[in-house]
């Protein structure tokens, strides 16, 4: 009886508590779900926040406010909008290049701290007219376009770099690596044009890599699928597989890194009669040179965007890891050696160099 009474009490209590509940849960159609957030320098205030809100089969709605902090700006947008604003589906954060030069640490921290922003969202820098890029529209569902632009399953190529919010956060806190952020501007026929990769030291923009350099940057990091390299006029190859081997050594002057890159490529385009050997030779020479230049550029910026600190991590003591960015990275000596192996010419037969030297007639009859 007593137990029964207790049970009734509990039941009543829980029902009462439940019925007083229903905590302003709003249905999905009462939400705006922005997919893209642009953060730029405000005209009068510190930040200008622009939200792109996709609506199925309709034009994107764009809302904009300025404030001293990002969340205040979002709050102001929320005040004026007819629906609640939920950042849970934010997929792309576009940051104005001017802000990036001053440091994006605060913005990244905001994105990681806010529990309604997923840290798998992408970050990019707008190098160009910020407003124009944000207001630029192509297709009726830009949420998918802007996301697919980077998606490895859709529009990504090794010419573009990718950076997610969590990677940005990790890299800005990390002792062993810096980050490269993709730079965009509005496109003419497409939504965006890829401009290159911004090299950051800690959270500050210090320089940039162009598209070709970005390909090498990706190659170095092991993201190469489907990359096309132009060897010379009319000659280009497609990277099938790349193997990057690092040999690290601590010398008295500091760290020394020997990187061997082994590329397996297929020839997609070459002028008549150019042998595979020549392409191989040209390519490895050219790539070695380009790599060297890119490396020097990054090194001179004193930003370890390639993450070489990580490669040295297994051999380093904790103190050296801590000093990596300030002391050891500037002293780093790196040598890059590129070896190229041509797998085949897709539908063409491989021609040995001997046959190649032979006269045209002979080859003609043979074919």
């Amino acid at each position: 009886m007593k137990v029964g009474f207790a049970r009734t009490c509990t039941l009543t209590l829980s029902l009462v508590l439940l019925l007083t509940g229903c905590w302003d849960t709003k249905d999905i159609n009462k939400h705006y779900l922005p997919a893209v957030m642009g953060i730029g320098k405000g005209d009068s205030q510190k930040y200008k926040v622009i939200l792109q809100i996709p609506i199925a089969n309709e034009k994107t709605q764009i809302l904009e406010k300025e404030a001293e902090s990002i969340s205040k700006a979002i709050d102001l947008i929320r005040t004026d909008s007819e629906k609640s604003i939920d950042l849970v589906h934010l997929r792309l954060m576009l940051i104005d290049i001017q802000l990036a030069q001053d440091g994006i640490g605060d913005i990244i921290n905001f994105a990681v701290r806010a529990n309604d922003i997923s840290i798998k969202g992408l970050v990019s820098i707008v190098d160009g007219d910020f407003d124009k890029t944000l207001y630029h529209q192509i297709s009726p569902t830009p949420e998918v376009s802007s996301y697919d632009f980077f998606s490895e399953e859709a529009g990504w190529t090794p010419n573009q770099s990718i950076l997610r919010i969590w990677e940005a956060y990790r890299n800005q806190e990390s002792l062993s690596e810096d980050m490269g952020i993709p730079m965009l501007k509005d496109g003419k026929q497409t939504l965006f044009t890829f401009k290159g990769t911004a090299v950051m030291r800690k959270d500050r923009l210090v320089g940039s890599l162009n598209q070709e350099e970005t390909l090498l940057y990706n190659l170095f990091k092991g993201k190469y699928t489907g990359g096309t390299i132009e060897v010379a006029k009319n000659t280009s190859v497609l990277i099938e597989h790349a193997k990057v081997n690092h040999h690290t050594k601590w010398t008295e002057q500091g760290p020394f890194l020997q990187t061997d890159i082994q590329l397996n490529v297929v020839v997609t385009e070459s002028p008549h009669g150019k042998s595979a050997d020549i392409i191989e030779k040209d390519l490895s020479e050219k790539l070695s040179k380009q790599f060297d230049q890119t490396w020097k550029k990054i090194h001179s910026l004193k930003a370890d965007a390639l993450g070489i600190g990580l490669i040295f991590r297994p051999q380093s003591k904790e103190e050296k890891i801590k000093e990596w960015k300030t002391v050891w990275f500037p002293k780093l000596v790196q040598k890059i050696d590129v070896k190229v192996n041509i797998l085949n010419e897709i539908y063409f037969k491989e021609k040995s160099s001997k046959q190649n030297e032979g006269d045209m007639l002979k080859r003609g009859t043979k074919l």
């Binding site: 007593k2 137990v3 207790a6 509990t10 829980s14 508590l17 509940g21 905590w23 302003d24 849960t25 849970v88 589906h89 990681v112 529990n115 309604d116 997923s118 840290i119 798998k120 998606s151 399953e153 997610r164 969590w166 956060y169 990790r170 806190e173 990390s174 002792l175 062993s176 990580l310 490669i311 991590r313 297994p314 380093s316 003591k317 904790e318 890891i321």
Partner: protein
């Protein structure tokens, strides 16, 4: 009681504790060689389990309460077991607080914590009301329901691993020993104490099987620390309140029907925490009931304790205070986790001698 059931609940209780208290404490306690700390903890646990099981096996058919009451009297039993009750209650309060704040952070941003906690406690109350046997049976259902989620939320992170962050792997100084956070991890060891609350004849599980079970737990423990570590690196992981959660948020998978994968992590860890809190609630009510008021119906004890826990949960103002209480509780846990198995072991020896002479 079937041995597989016991092993299942043994595993689930450990997992619940691991997902609640483990990764951020271990990552905070040392900046290198985390595996040393993890291994040390589990080595100690296996030693304690051996002592505990060995001691218990000398008293067939009795629970720890029976043993203490019979050998060292009511007062002795109170001295030995009341700290355990305090520890269990503390553990329960902190567990529930941590889980509800995690639920609030990730799943229900606008629901007041009081309501979430209430639902949490209603479940625990119902479970404890039905008794340990029902909870042990339920563990198999929860296992089927939640282990896929756990494995899923742990394994999807592999794509984002950067194995260089594992270094440096060796810490010659054992610096974690000087860190309070390391000792908080000892609270997870309490997950084997429930074995003493089941009478011997229904406890067919032997030490060997428990050791194997603990091996599985060890793998999960390593995973829970190293997954966030390999994704974020020590430098950023140490700044995160919920490292496992954040690690599962970094994944962008197209083939999963749902977005926002940290939800899976929260769902699985809070599901297990419900089981753990129910077991803790049942244990502390049953201890108090047998020690102090054996005449009262145990269901009243369960009701009163759950009300008490609910109030205590609401009294924790923020996560900072929770950390302070955790450290306090860690001291009590050292007493319970080390002292109790040793004491049972000594009592067992003592009795063994008495019988043989």
């Amino acid at each position: 009681m079937n041995k597989y059931l016991l092993l299942t609940i043994f595993l689930l209780l450990h997992l619940a504790a691991i997902f609640t208290f483990f990764p951020d404490r271990i990552i905070a306690s040392t900046s290198k060689g985390h595996w040393e700390a993890i291994t040390l903890i589990f080595m100690l646990e296996i030693v304690f389990i051996w002592f505990y099981m060995n001691g218990l096996s000398k008293f067939p058919g009795e629970t720890i309460v029976d043993i203490c009451l019979r050998t060292i009297g009511r007062w002795g039993a109170c001295v030995l077991l009341l700290p355990l009750v305090v520890f269990l209650m503390g553990q329960m309060v902190l567990l529930i607080y941590y889980q509800t704040s995690q639920i609030r952070a990730v799943l229900l941003q606008s629901t007041p914590t009081a309501a979430t906690t209430f639902l949490f406690l209603v479940l625990c109350f119902y479970g404890a009301w039905k008794g340990l046997a029902a909870l042990i049976h339920a563990s198999i259902g929860l296992f089927v329901l939640f282990i896929p989620f756990i494995l899923f939320s742990m394994l999807i992170g592999i794509k984002n691993f950067n194995f260089n962050y594992i270094f440096p792997v060796w810490d010659g100084t054992f610096s974690f020993l000087h860190h309070a956070d390391f000792y908080i991890c000892f609270t997870i060891l309490s997950s084997f104490l429930f074995l003493g609350m089941i009478p011997q004849k229904e406890r067919p599980v032997r030490f060997g099987r428990l050791a194997v079970g603990l091996g599985v737990v060890y793998v999960f423990g390593m995973g829970s620390v190293y997954i966030p570590l390999l994704v974020f690196g020590q430098e950023s992981a140490v700044l995160l309140q919920y490292p496992m959660l954040m690690a599962s948020d970094t994944i962008d998978l197209e083939w999963v029907v749902f977005d926002w994968l940290p939800s899976f992590s929260v769902v699985s860890s809070s599901g297990l925490a419900v089981l753990m809190a129910s077991v803790l609630l049942w244990m502390s009510s049953s201890l108090l009931h047998q020690l102090l008021v054996p005449k009262l119906n145990i269901k009243w004890m369960v009701s009163m304790l759950s009300l008490l826990v609910y109030i205590l949960c609401l009294f924790i103002p923020n996560i900072e205070v929770m950390n302070r209480y955790l450290q306090l509780n860690a001291f009590v846990s050292l007493f319970c986790v080390i002292g109790l198995p040793m004491m049972i072991f000594i009592l067992g020896r003592w009795r063994g001698k008495k019988v043989s002479t």
